[in-house]
Amino acid sequence: MDFLNAIILLLNYIFVPALTYGSQLAIGAIFVTLIYGILRFANFATGDMMSFGTMVAILFTWYFQSIGLSLGFLPTALLAIPFAILFMTLYMLIIDKFVFKYYRLNKSPPVQLAMVSIGVMFVTQAVVRIIIGPSDRRFFDGEKFLMRANEFKEMTGLNEGLAIKSTQVITIVVTIILVSTLFWFLNMTKTGKSMRAYSDNEDLALLSGIDPKKIVMITWMIAAILATIGGVLYGLDKSFKPFTYFNNMLPIFAAAIVGGIGNPFGAFLGGYVIAFSEILLTYAYKKFFMYVLPESMEPDSLIQLLSTDYKFAVSFSILVIVLLYRPSGIFKGKIL
């Protein structure tokens, strides 16, 4: 019984939250890696692009709520996502036309494009804060829990409860659907294949008649989808605050590089690597050992490897270690 309790404890406090957080990071990391692989620059506006998409989704959610439209037990925001994606695509294409295109055609070095993306970051941040303000916003509605801790305890008779929030399930399900569609698109369709070819070797791809304009446009569209969905999922699960989104850029970068930048599958797994290591290393295992060990050996301290304040620091340290020992990432990406 104690053993089961210990397992449920780990599931509740480590596995489910890490899986959710990892999914959110994974979507962001694929976004970074796609932009890096095809447009060839490190996009420092990542977090703010996500917050822009989320902001549009929130505005639509509010509109739907005001006219009484809802999805029942599901959050209204899911209904708003397609509209937000449309807006986001438009925004991305406008940015590309007025900002990035010039440097791409001039074949500027990646550093210059990265600098330009900092300009985009400032502008996007300003637009988001001017439209919706810098404060914390929750836009979740519908049923909050799929399973409450108490219900689980009654059902199984265990001491430990397993609470599953509906946002966690939504995040994981949406991620699975989104990522598998994306991989199907990249690996099976002709456009997807030409995108990969373009990413792999631009000159050869151009030689074989691939239209770079189309590739770039489709990349921005996919980027818009990923940014919006990733942002909305994070906002539903936690809350929407422009500053937090800006900061989320850092673990997302870490995930993309750990997985091997330019490699979407690596980025996907990188998200989970970062999320699990963050949570595994900062969790206090005292209760777990109380269940597992006999009473005489019960620990006094919290058995916490690092305090939770260092959550971010963990993922960055992993990144530094990976950069040192395997600069191309765990799953071979581009060579640095």
Binding site: F122, V123, F312, A313, L319
Partner: protein, 456 residues
């Protein structure tokens, strides 16, 4: 003289703008803008050495600034004797342990060939070392944080005048830069940017949460000052006489003796804070001028030529027998040390150390905007960038308010759009920075004052 006309013109316009602020807003605001402009100028000089001279991207400016600030605390605060007596030994022991681990790892690295066993041995040494250090330091840290947590709760510093921290800050930041450089300088440019950005976040996380060292988010307030205190100035005779002399024209107009005294008091209070700010300006100006002379000399020396050669064509420079790796490391350390000086200056001016206020947007990306806008590779350009961008950063809100009022003049004061826009005026500074950066990068990619290399 003619060649430098645009430099002189740009700086005159900048000073003119600051003087305008002095006339129309207040001299206090103008001077605080000027002081922060000077500090920003030091930071941009540091970043410019790395980016403009050598083409190294350093997005870790925030971390080096914070380390400079930490130096200001550790140098100037008086030691907390009680904390040292309860936890000092543990902390010192941990410090020796860290040094020991580093030495052992170095020894293993030197002595044995690269192999799997060596990597495992090193990771075992490091992990077990960390666990031992935790066991040693934990009781000490807890005891230190128990000591009067509302006021101290940390080890304190060594109680020297705060000016020394400017040098110490340079050493702190330079030391960190040395470690980062050893690890990360081999990376390609944009990876170096990401790596330094993330490492600086780690530095901030440590400064924020190691309360025994820095008091963490509880902040350290009331640091020593290199300048006199306003309260003391207001009671000194020579200062009151000075203010009286300055404002004699205004005072003479007031006939009533009581009113005249009240007016004089007002002038003295205002004058004292201006005087203190002027003291800071003087100190900062000295630093900026010294650094400017040194960096200019370096730029036109054989060493500067070599750096440009490395920047423009690494392989060719390498083929000429220049040690690219070593020079990159050197310039990374030098630039970061300058940023560390700026960090210490900033904390000195504020008189308080707030680890929570270090954010990448303000301390990394804004500095980069300054370098790019001003003109990378040109020290005068970098300093000008610091001035222009900081000036706009502060004055963006009034300008934004003016623009909002202008564009929404037709609307009523209670119209929701107007109210909303006026509320969001502070964020216009982000918009200005972004658009400014994009425009400069597009139409004047070398900055306001571009790099100019004269062959003498």
């Amino acid at each position: 003289m003619r060649k430098n006309l645009n430099v002189i013109a740009a700086y005159s316009i900048m000073m003119g703008l600051i003087i305008l602020v002095g006339i129309f807003q207040s001299w206090n605001i103008a001077l605080s803008i000027f002081n922060l402009c000077l500090i920003s100028a030091v930071m941009t000089m540091g970043a410019n050495i790395q980016w403009g001279y050598a083409g190294l991207i350093n997005f870790g400016i925030m971390g080096f600034t914070a380390l400079g600030g930490l130096a200001a605390v550790l140098i100037s605060v008086n030691p907390v004797q009680e904390a040292w007596s309860v936890g000092g030994t543990n902390i010192l022991l941990s410090l020796f342990l860290i040094i020991g681990i580093v030495l052992v790892v170095r020894f293993v690295l030197k002595k044995y060939q690269k192999s799997k066993i060596r990597s495992y041995a090193i990771s075992t040494i490091i992990i077990s070392g960390i666990i031992i250090i935790r066991f040693v330091s934990e009781p000490g840290i807890e005891a230190i944080e128990e000591v009067n947590p509302a006021k101290t709760g940390f080890l304190g510093g060594i109680g020297l005048p705060i000016i020394f921290s400017w040098i110490a800050g340079a050493f702190f930041a330079g030391g960190l830069a040395f470690v980062i450089g050893k690890v990360a300088l081999g990376l390609r440019a944009d990876y170096l940017a990401i790596a330094t950005l993330l490492i600086s976040e780690i530095v901030i996380a440590i400064i924020k949460h190691e309360d025994w060292l820095t008091r963490g988010v509880k902040n350290v307030i009331g640091l020593k000052r290199p300048a006199p205190y306003e309260v003391n100035l207001q009671e000194t005779d020579w200062f009151i006489n000075l203010v009286e002399k300055f404002n004699s024209g205004n005072l003479a107009l007031i006939s009533d003796i009581n009113e005249r005294q009240a007016a004089l008091n007002q002038f003295v209070i205002e004058g004292s804070s201006i005087f203190v700010k002027l003291c800071y300006s003087g100190l900062f100006l000295v630093v900026v001028i010294i650094l400017l002379i040194l960096t200019q000399k370096a730029l036109y020396s054989p060493w500067g030529r070599m750096m440009r050669a490395i920047r423009d064509n690494e392989e060719a420079a390498n083929a000429m027998g220049k040690n690219v790796v070593k020079q990159h490391l050197l310039i990374f350390v030098l630039g970061s040390a300058i940023v560390g000086i700026a960090g210490a200056m900033l904390v000195t001016q504020d008189g308080l150390f707030t680890p929570g206020s270090y954010r990448p947007l303000r301390y990394t990306f804004l500095i980069w905007v300054m370098v790019i806008v001003g003109g990378s590779g040109n020290n005068f350009g970098a300093i000008l960038g610091g001035f222009v961008v900081w000036f706009l950063w502060i004055e963006a809100a009034p300008i934004g308010l003016y623009l909002v009022n202008l564009t929404t003049a037709g609307l009523e004061d209670t119209h929701f759009l107007k109210v909303h826009l006026i509320e969001s005026v502070p964020y216009f500074r982000f918009l200005m920075m972004g658009i400014g950066l994009l425009l400069i990068m597009r139409y004047r990619p070398k900055g306001i004052l571009p790099e100019k290399i004269e062959i003498k």
